[in-house]
Symmetry: C2
């Protein structure tokens, strides 16, 4: 592709003095926040992991093949037929009123009694993260987040120049004592904590869930220290053993901003998520949303709304849960059977992910090319840390491949780990590690 054949109009020759095939003539023009925007490690994997011979345990795409396409098709035809002029027009910046009522009904499953006027519909849960960060974060403000944390949230926090302080987790999620210590330490250093970002249910990427007593304790800690909580809950309805756990927001309607999504319970292609926030915050969120996209797509919202009314969506969620449970079982069984000693992993009770930690001295990022050569892919743990930790760990997704493919993927992965261990035993650390062994602080199960 010969895009810029005419150099006579090339911007600022001075800026074009750097080397490399692809000069960025605009480099001296970008905003400071742009320096933190880099392609994520998850993204650079996509091209490799999508080759058919590779078993990808990397992606987080929900498996929506069980959706009844004929039902969806006729619901959409009905929507265009009966309310097409509204569905294809500009809508409210806050989102469709009927959908906001339906969202409140859904949140009752998590014990939340919210008012539709406090709900803002967003372009997926990612936009909710963006808007919350936009209204609260000045450069240098501190966000507390689990270690590890959701890669998309970290990317948003970075783009607003937030300073992320990670907090250790164990098999039961965020450790309250570590939260106390982190608040104390940040406060002592004179910095401002703007909020705690947490995924209490079936954590991405850690695969752990906060038990009820810890939720109470974490709420109390944040109340005492006057810290807001962003509760991100895309997987709450996808538990394998229990119904949706009680949300933090169910017990505090002033301190907790709750984020939800239809991406995992229906389909991500409509990009419909939401926030439930105290009224004053909700007003700011809507202003930020309007300045960001004017309004979320009316068509998407009304399609979701129509689906919720016209289909047994709870039955469909139940079917999703069964499917994901079977895949989770396949992954855990294969890990139990095949992984060499010294490897540890979490045992998720819902959601999409297992967090695996390699034997001491191994580096998941350095190992990835060898894994891909052996036709299996994962996301290295470093993607889920803002501070360079996580090199000994990886995220394994069981949401998308079939149980057979999952077993085969874990078999290939176990081979690679064993080879790495042999290499390391024979040649020492330099053979397997790119860096001097920064271990993830948590969750390292033994």
């Amino acid at each position: 592709m010969d895009q810029y054949p005419d150099t006579s109009r090339r911007i600022t020759d001075a800026a074009a003095t750097s080397t490399g095939d692809r000069l960025d003539a605009y480099v001296d023009r970008y905003a400071t926040r742009t320096h933190g925007m880099t392609a994520s490690e998850v993204r650079s994997l996509f091209s490799v992991a999508s080759r058919p011979e590779v078993v990808s345990l990397a992606g987080g795409m929900p498996n929506i093949s069980g959706l009844p396409m004929d039902v969806v098709g006729s619901l959409l035809t009905e929507l265009v037929d009966k309310r097409g002029l509204t569905a294809m027009q500009y809508g409210s910046g806050q989102g469709d009123a009927l959908l906001r009522e339906q969202i409140c009904e859904i949140m009752q499953t998590a014990g939340i009694h919210g008012h539709p006027d406090d709900v803002t519909v967003t372009v997926g849960s990612q936009q909710a993260l963006d808007l919350v960060t936009r209204i609260f974060i000045d450069p240098g403000d501190v966000i507390l987040a689990e270690a590890p944390s959701y890669v998309g949230a970290l990317s948003t926090f970075r783009s607003y120049q937030a300073d992320v302080v990670h907090i250790e987790m164990d098999d039961d999620g965020l450790v309250p004592d570590r939260l106390r210590e982190a608040i104390q330490s940040v406060t002592d250093s004179g910095r401002r904590i703007k909020f705690l970002y947490t995924i209490p249910n079936y954590h991405n990427p850690a695969g752990v869930t906060l038990p009820p007593e810890r939720r109470t304790e974490i709420l109390e800690i944040c109340q005492q220290a006057d810290v807001l909580i962003i509760e991100d809950d895309p997987y709450g309805l996808l538990g394998f053993d229990t119904d949706c756990p009680r949300a933090l927001r169910a017990d505090d309607d002033e301190r907790v901003i709750y984020l939800g999504s239809f991406s995992k319970t229906f389909a991500p292609g409509f990009r419909v998520g939401w926030t439930l926030a105290p009224h004053a915050v909700r007003e700011k969120l809507v202003l930020a949303a309007e300045s960001s996209v004017l309004c979320p797509p009316a068509f998407s919202q009304m399609a979701v709304s129509q689906y919720l009314v016209g289909h047994d969506w709870r039955g469909q969620v139940k079917a999703f849960r069964e499917m994901y449970r079977e895949r989770r079982d396949a992954m855990l069984e294969a890990l139990d059977d095949l992984m060499p000693e010294g490897t540890h992993w979490t045992r998720p009770t819902g959601g999409f992910y297992v967090w695996l930690t390699l034997p001491s001295g191994l580096d998941a990022k350095a190992m990835l090319p060898r894994a891909v050569t052996n036709r299996v892919a994962y996301v290295p743990g470093t993607a889920f840390y803002a501070d360079g930790f996580g090199s000994r760990s990886m995220r394994l997704s069981y949401c998308y491949p079939t149980p057979e493919r999952i077993r085969e993927g874990i078999r290939r992965l176990a081979q690679v780990v064993e080879q790495e261990m042999e290499l390391r035993a024979a040649f020492g650390a330099s053979a397997t590690s790119q860096r001097p062994g920064l271990d993830a602080p948590a969750p390292n199960q033994s």
Copy 2:
């Protein structure tokens, strides 16, 4: 609505000491940028202007009643049936590859030869504005914009704490000499100009269009001064006399970032817009988009793509043009017939808007309540200025009401203007003006 009955958990009692019914307990927590986020004057009008007895010349909603709903319905059924799993799944952050090719084909109408790899699909053109501002603007950076300018752009610029410097227009749009002077003056003051934001075709709100020779001159000025150009072109295909004017981007593929939209040529409810940007900038835009919404809705994009393939969309645009031309004619005829002397207005050759300037001494914002009482609504000119100007002007939209309603609306508006003039003649300026007569610098036609 008794939302917060339990005050025991109310955040920071100290912050709750301010008066007012609606305390914002979070006021000391917001980011600095949030202070610039206020409800626009357009928005506060919506509830009033939507009453059926009011002729609203305020809104900018396209009239999509001419769309063939049966065709759209069957195209969507086909989409779900044949490519439902892709349309309802996560997609690329840059946008659907086929749609990006179709966008390049459409842009050829404006003389643009772009490559699909340089296109980023956005959640409406508003998100394109947000992303461009996000990657270029640090607080205090200067954006040059026409006087008046698009209210949604100004809101986005404000949310990134940009400093907007307005440039005078006349009946032929942006005045090149004023642009030269503004660049000189900003540069002399030691501030950094990040870009010129311009709407060359059928300007919102001014209703004017840049002639070809001015486009060349403006490009040359920006090339000499090394200023980037954001060319916002939602209305280019909606000209009444000519086909799409040649874009600035057609003559400079390195300095101009072009923004397009399907909201006016198809339907806004899918929220599909785009940017065409130099490759290095496009890479940053995609990273910013991913951190903002992960990816634009796949369903929306594929719906638009399907419509472009499966329907005579150019014929539909032609029908839209005829409809809007008839409404433009109705408005101009009514203005010519009914408006009192001393009132001036632009004569748009495309798009949705007439910019009307009241006789000297009248204040469009102060007059609005009296206009609404007389059952007609408009947007006061101040909404389209970042600096408090525009009080003598207003934006009149002819896109949505029928020609009959437009004539009736202008009749009612003319009555109100006449009454204001009589009041002013009898009691002086204080009777009609809220402020000491800040007149809009342009476009004030005589």
